[in-house]
Symmetry: D3
Subunit: 284 residues, 6 copies
Amino acid sequence: MKKQIEKVTTLCEALPYIKKFYGKTVVIKYGGSAMSETELKKSFARDIVLMKYVGMNPVIVHGGGPQIGHHLGKLGKETNFIDGIRVTDDETMEIVEMVLVGKVNKEIVGLINHFGGNAVGLCGKDGKLIKAARLKLRGKDVGHVGRVESVNTSVIESLGKSNFIPVIAPVGGGEDGKTYNINADTVAGEIASAIGAEKLILLTDVEGVLGKNKKLLSSLTLKEARSLIRTKVADGGMVPKLKCCIDTVKAGVGSAHIIDGRVEHSVLLEVFTDAGVGTIITDA
Amino acid sequence: MKKQIEKVTTLCEALPYIKKFYGKTVVIKYGGSAMSETELKKSFARDIVLMKYVGMNPVIVHGGGPQIGHHLGKLGKETNFIDGIRVTDDETMEIVEMVLVGKVNKEIVGLINHFGGNAVGLCGKDGKLIKAARLKLRGKDVGHVGRVESVNTSVIESLGKSNFIPVIAPVGGGEDGKTYNINADTVAGEIASAIGAEKLILLTDVEGVLGKNKKLLSSLTLKEARSLIRTKVADGGMVPKLKCCIDTVKAGVGSAHIIDGRVEHSVLLEVFTDAGVGTIITDA
Amino acid sequence: MKKQIEKVTTLCEALPYIKKFYGKTVVIKYGGSAMSETELKKSFARDIVLMKYVGMNPVIVHGGGPQIGHHLGKLGKETNFIDGIRVTDDETMEIVEMVLVGKVNKEIVGLINHFGGNAVGLCGKDGKLIKAARLKLRGKDVGHVGRVESVNTSVIESLGKSNFIPVIAPVGGGEDGKTYNINADTVAGEIASAIGAEKLILLTDVEGVLGKNKKLLSSLTLKEARSLIRTKVADGGMVPKLKCCIDTVKAGVGSAHIIDGRVEHSVLLEVFTDAGVGTIITDA
Amino acid sequence: MKKQIEKVTTLCEALPYIKKFYGKTVVIKYGGSAMSETELKKSFARDIVLMKYVGMNPVIVHGGGPQIGHHLGKLGKETNFIDGIRVTDDETMEIVEMVLVGKVNKEIVGLINHFGGNAVGLCGKDGKLIKAARLKLRGKDVGHVGRVESVNTSVIESLGKSNFIPVIAPVGGGEDGKTYNINADTVAGEIASAIGAEKLILLTDVEGVLGKNKKLLSSLTLKEARSLIRTKVADGGMVPKLKCCIDTVKAGVGSAHIIDGRVEHSVLLEVFTDAGVGTIITDA
Amino acid sequence: MKKQIEKVTTLCEALPYIKKFYGKTVVIKYGGSAMSETELKKSFARDIVLMKYVGMNPVIVHGGGPQIGHHLGKLGKETNFIDGIRVTDDETMEIVEMVLVGKVNKEIVGLINHFGGNAVGLCGKDGKLIKAARLKLRGKDVGHVGRVESVNTSVIESLGKSNFIPVIAPVGGGEDGKTYNINADTVAGEIASAIGAEKLILLTDVEGVLGKNKKLLSSLTLKEARSLIRTKVADGGMVPKLKCCIDTVKAGVGSAHIIDGRVEHSVLLEVFTDAGVGTIITDA
Amino acid sequence: MKKQIEKVTTLCEALPYIKKFYGKTVVIKYGGSAMSETELKKSFARDIVLMKYVGMNPVIVHGGGPQIGHHLGKLGKETNFIDGIRVTDDETMEIVEMVLVGKVNKEIVGLINHFGGNAVGLCGKDGKLIKAARLKLRGKDVGHVGRVESVNTSVIESLGKSNFIPVIAPVGGGEDGKTYNINADTVAGEIASAIGAEKLILLTDVEGVLGKNKKLLSSLTLKEARSLIRTKVADGGMVPKLKCCIDTVKAGVGSAHIIDGRVEHSVLLEVFTDAGVGTIITDA
């Protein structure tokens, strides 16, 4: 019995967080280890379903780099990267879309539904969610790599009214009739801005944003975040993530979080405890 | 961090219960120690607010015997009891109504609101919630002691649409223009039946329903419950409580619970863990 | 038959007034003789029900000074007044709340319901209607005497959608967890302002506002009302009532009325005839 | 002042009737003196507007025999009657429709609007309200005289949602593309049945239904009404009126009234006083 | 089969127009040959029904000069015209109203309903749609000839919610209790402005607006339209029509069209093909 | 101009069909040549968008056999067929899902959106649309080949409220957590039954159902359809299609159509002309 009492006490301790975020929308970029290791996948799905049941509106945007690589490999298709961006010819784009939309997305939908949620998978073409345009990369042609030109949130809102959980693959259609692969962090940030989300959470495979001494910075103002980029304390893949967070917070989203997806229940930890598992960026 | 992970794990363990009772109404008879001891009062209020936030619709019906006794004492007013029922003359009824509606009810409303809920206190006269009639007690006149003649749930439904938590004092008006004090268990049961609740929970100051060997019976069918009364294994105050539960379940409420209100978070324990803290009565 | 025709002719004469106030909200401070004499009580309840049926939305705020005095007397509890304000210690506040919320309020609810309305009693704690704060009285501590810090009208609106008539006791909870007794005129004025009422009507035991020659002033502009205070033509209890009316009209309420509650059907007379029974204050 | 108090007392006396018929629909056949004498016309319009404001839903169906006769006369067009029914050739029908729809109907609409209502005129063609068919009269051809084949109440319901008062001319279109003049009592009865009205009121130029001794019968059961026809105590124009009332009550309308439209405010008198001004027919 | 394929191809060609005007309101002034010749009448009714079914909201305002003349003639009533305006004494106005409201309007309603629409006829008195005032004509009294003082679109909106097609006769009531005949073009323009229509279409018996060389001008800017009037290239009846179009476009209606109602399906041709059958006036 | 008039005349000829199917749902199984030839693809997309704009609710279910074969071929993966059913091992199922959901489905969504519709792609996992179970094929294991166990239409209804066009890939999730490929005709039929569609249309690469003499049978009753199967006049792939149609019509869908998808605009031809392009099966 004592153990049971501890449990419900724990439930009650979550109440202030539940109240705080009741009815709020949280856009989560899902990827990395959290999307590849079995236990983390399950704990993520449970987290999302719980968030929904305690009154939040989670919106998932997923990546899928490794899965794409795996399938391209199977087909003996080689890929070149320019500045970390996959050069995406027509045939590659076809594979990318099939893997993201037809495999990764459906796995996530299936997992969330298995744990009691009711998810619906979307890509940027569905309901004209994302209008994409060709990304210009300093003169180099990287093919079907796109940027978000505009977001039309009506399909998300329509599904939201019936309490479905949207799971979004970062693929969009262009005015030119072509399909574009878009960076998932960017898509998550743009959608968070467009629907006026409370939070943007980026799941990563690092501890969070690190300072000069390689120690975790648990919170950053916009100014501090910009300074980390300018002073090159932040480097590599962290730079675009920080930029995405800065843009999203500037667009009015309450906070952006770069968290450690390798920790079980990382999303819940970040939202429902004071501890947190990464870095929060806010406009203050 | 490990502790934090344990915490969110606990949250996730509650998910199946949250899903099961999402959108369901639970009528709770509140009284006894849970309503007099400071810590229990707080844990009760937190439980109610949490239930509301995770999607249930709690409806509180409270008693107030000790508080009534206390105020009558202050006024030097003596009370007679016949068969455990307070003989209630006009002056006593005035005190009873003031204490239940003007003091006990408002304390509960205040406490729930303090912990983040949004409660509205009602008595049976408000919105014509309860039509009362004089209780006939084998020829003896016990004054303003009533029974529920009918329940009009429109005020509960109206408040429910705006997510208020109704807190109800067991006082009703009669066709004769008089005010009646009604047994709070009965009021809770009748309201649960009238609004088609999922559960009726009676908070008591005992472990639950005990069997022949004085051991707790954690579950009972209607048949078993009736047998306990017939064979006089159940006696004293437990008999009307069992009868109330039987009637309520027969009227279509999913289950009735007689639980130990002396345990902290007893309501959550009963609803959100397998352990339970008392006896559940179901039609099966 | 001739008498019957006269009657329906009278009904038709009310039509212009009914049209004028159709769908409008009127906040009425109820107290004094209108709340103590049997016939006046009945005529008041009938007036309110009629107003509701012909399309107006009456909101009642009641006082209860004499009833409080009566109960304190019974308990042998003496009261001191400073500047006409009852010094309210903890024990007194407990009595005040019980009398206002548990007795006076329920009597009014019962009476309105008896005459065919559907009233719901509230105090400032219900649905967090009134946030109170301790009244500062030039350095003197008068205990649990409060002022209105803010009004949250959601419970009134929620009940209004289902056509309930709200009856409000002037008791509110503070941030400090304490309960405060607030002047009922003030509560009525603040609620009228907060819900954007068409009229505020204060029932009094005087003819209305009197001029220099002690003659009734049937209408006042804000400027004239202020002048009466400044020149001390208005004195005693009339001063705070005038100030309350001025503040309410300044906050956008169409008109404030100080009327003679000793006249039967005073509310209907003021609203539905040209004669009127007191003083109307408007911003013009 | 005394007179004013009498007036509001009268208002209050109407309360039980207002409550009884709140939200109910009353279909009124308007015609005869009430539609031709100036004072009666005004009192009728006022009655209708008042009924609307105190929560009833009046639906007017009007006749127009004299007005038709007048216009035919002007054109030098003679009319034959067979069994009291106007033989209606094509040219006559054209005049009938113009007078009923383009003159009588608009006068009533204008009058109601003048007194503060918001009326919309309709004929049976509008919104396909009435599907008419040629009346078969024992082998004789009476031309464009129709009966009601079916009623489609959607236009009435649509206007009702916005609180318009429908005023209906008894002209309908047939499957054959022709226009038919229909008896207004019949149209009123059929519409009352189709929309599930509470009352059907037929305004006439007689006292009501008279018994053997030529004395007014103030109430009749269906059985008594049928007996009056069978025994020929009722004769002439009263027979079809009684039949219409019997059919309407049998179809579920609460009561049918044959009243004396020559009395000012006859409709209000019948609905809002105990006296009544004619005969009520009910199923009991 | 080939013919069938051509047909559905034609349907598909209409798609861009259907999309463009989906959900938009079009006010059509109906009159002239389109309202007198049998085949044109049918094609007009079909056009309106089709427009409704493909998602537009047509609102019809009709004239009726010839029909009025015909009936006045029958009655031997002579008419004088001043500046092309019929001098309308009381008796004439009575005939005008009967013909427009009781004959022409109902014929149109019947025709639209026959072809599968669901029309409701209205005049300016219904639902207080048009408040009229006496037209002042340079000192000359032309009697019951009115102008539009204000438009209350609530009855149109109410009917629109239930997908009825409003058909409006250009007759309105004045504050003075009198009835006024108003120019139908003007009524159409004022209603288009008041409801924020997408288009105003005036059906005429000419090709459209002609230029200096008597050639059709298929499109005009406001400036060009004004110039045509100033330079007297436009003259006679075209001047008030142009002025009406200019005012309507200035009031925010997307475009005004003066089209040739003598062409079958002229309305559809103008809305659903590039060809058009007249002149379009826009603010550009 | 003459050509234009012919065009709008054609539009008007479609009116009876538009009226007949206004607001009705049509489930279309899309596949074969209509899904592989460029012009047919475009004409199909246009047809669907037009249907939507003229008030119908099209729901698309697509196949994708050739596309699956093409991708398996690329990967050097061989397929065995048993009784025409593809033996689907785990790896094959992965490819099948990716091709159907991630390629074919998105192409259709993109095409419909390009022509002005607003489509959303779904598979059976989204919103728990289709619960699948392993198909039992007379003892032979064909792997991930499923049947429809139940259909949950809530996601279709939710999208329908916002006027999205659902495009559904015939892949479903089983209770066993596995993914199943299901025959697209079957999925279309089951969805048509579950949402109470008006029509089921199967696009094929044959003329329709042929009789003994190999002549097209343009309409069949259920009895005739069963007879064709029993007498083996229908054989090969036509048998399951006929069975699917029979089951769907028996489940209450108004009619089932087996049409020739090789004809341009075949869907519109079947729905909007009398000619039709195949066989209609109805319960009569």
